[in-house]
Symmetry: C3
Subunit: 205 residues, 3 copies
């Protein structure tokens, strides 16, 4: 299944970008592996914990942890070539965002949850890994202030849910959502599309 293949590629890509973030904090190899696992699998873990959906994906399939650690250690070995790989990473990350979102929506649909929660489930799956990475690196999460990212997850989730609701064939919806979501994210990076910022500089208390 296409979704499954892209899922594994995206997991590895997320783990690799997390490894680079760990390297910027001068973490040791263990820290690099933990940050890779948390970033790549944290979104799904948070979703399943919030929905009470056990066992977690990586508890059922522990080799996912090995993929993350392997990708992280591979990144350490190849760190000096990473500069040249900026664009491939951004593209894989964009693909992963959309695929994670679709998978998150699917879980909520299977659990028979309401439309809002289906979209939130996709959103959580898509973005929480990066939020946990930034918290562990002691940063304000990037996703709250940079180019369209969460918006891509929300748009993808809405299109996926309503695509299925309108009775379109499942494979068509998946491919369509991937194409649209991926294009939107890439356009956001190139054109520096951002949500409007809210700037408030008074202390309330």
């Amino acid at each position: 299944m296409l979704l499954q293949v892209i899922f594994y590629i995206a997991i590895a890509a997320e783990a690799m970008t997390a490894a680079l973030a760990a390297g910027r904090r001068k973490m040791d190899w263990f820290g690099v592996c933990v940050l890779a696992c948390v970033t790549a699998l944290g979104g799904g873990t948070m979703r399943d914990t919030l929905l009470g959906h056990y066992p977690l994906t990586w508890v059922a399939n522990p080799y996912l942890l090995l993929i993350c650690c392997g990708a992280a250690l591979f990144t350490i070995a190849l760190a000096r070539f990473m500069d040249a790989l900026k664009w491939p990473f951004l593209l894989l990350d964009a693909l992963g965002l959309v695929v994670f979102t679709i998978i998150g929506c699917n879980i909520a649909i299977e659990l028979g949850l309401s439309p809002i929660i289906i979209i939130v489930s996709g959103l959580v799956t898509g973005i929480v890994g990066g939020i946990l990475r930034d918290v562990l690196c002691n940063d304000v999460p990037l996703v709250f202030s940079s180019e369209l990212y969460a918006t891509v997850a929300i748009v993808s989730g809405v299109l996926y849910y309503y695509g299925l609701q309108w009775g379109l064939p499942h494979d068509l919806v998946v491919v369509g959502v991937i194409v649209i979501g991926f294009s939107l994210r890439v356009a956001a990076i190139i054109l520096k599309l951002e949500m409007p910022k809210f700037v408030y500089d008074k202390e309330l208390r």
Copy 2:
């Protein structure tokens, strides 16, 4: 039911103060909404996750997410008037703290848990939202070092539990706890009542 009405008002008030915190970090509109939801609903979410009490409140009632996002976006629109609203916010926040605590205690009582856990359940419901807000904003949580706040939740929880234990009518206990807890919190703000601080400035390791 009075408790229910105050609950919704408190959720909105929490979301609005979180939106201002997001504005101080120059987050975009999406970040503002996420921070509002996490702050307003995070305490109950943490409580239910710790107690294994599923489904979570906002999964069962997804419109709570819409209330939070609506209150957050409303705050962006009205940001320049927020200065004048400092006191109304502080009062609503105080009211919310006590009501969240009572609701948290109720959940633990329904689950048949022990007195300590009932009070901890109220405490977690009351304060964890603010802790998560501060972690996502990259601050040391305010609740660990400012005017009496957690103490108000603990006192409210103890009074509520023993009020019910002593066989007092439920409505009387609720109103009594709200009056006492609210007054204590307001007194703490005005008189700058604080817990003693523990200051230790040596590195142990």
Copy 3:
């Protein structure tokens, strides 16, 4: 049971080191108690939440919270003697790390989980409390960059699991793992053994 006794001592020791960390952030007495509970009980809480293993240890045994708060307040009272206690703390912490790991492995074994997850369960139990402490103190977690710590948990978990697999008597395995894990940690502190660091100083995005 020896494991149980060391468990309580280790809980208290973790709570006391957390109290000192709270003191360095000038937290109030409430903050000190919360940080103590989160640090001492956070690893087991995270493990049980990830594995869906309810009720949590401290919900079933709420007096654990009292032990943590008591140890934390005791630390405040005796803070000026703490300097002299650096080594006892480091030793108790090392002992606690191995015992927490063994207990975490046991839970996963009882749940019939796979070898990787058994070792991850021990690891999470051993190190997550300290990670949560560092996040709440607004630090990058120490465990990602200091002397061998997580490695000790992983080695202890692997030895424990394979010791039992090889049919060795349970008590022998427990004692053996404690001796080896404790020695490894103490050696790491004295000899400043560290995992290799990954240093990467370019921005990928």
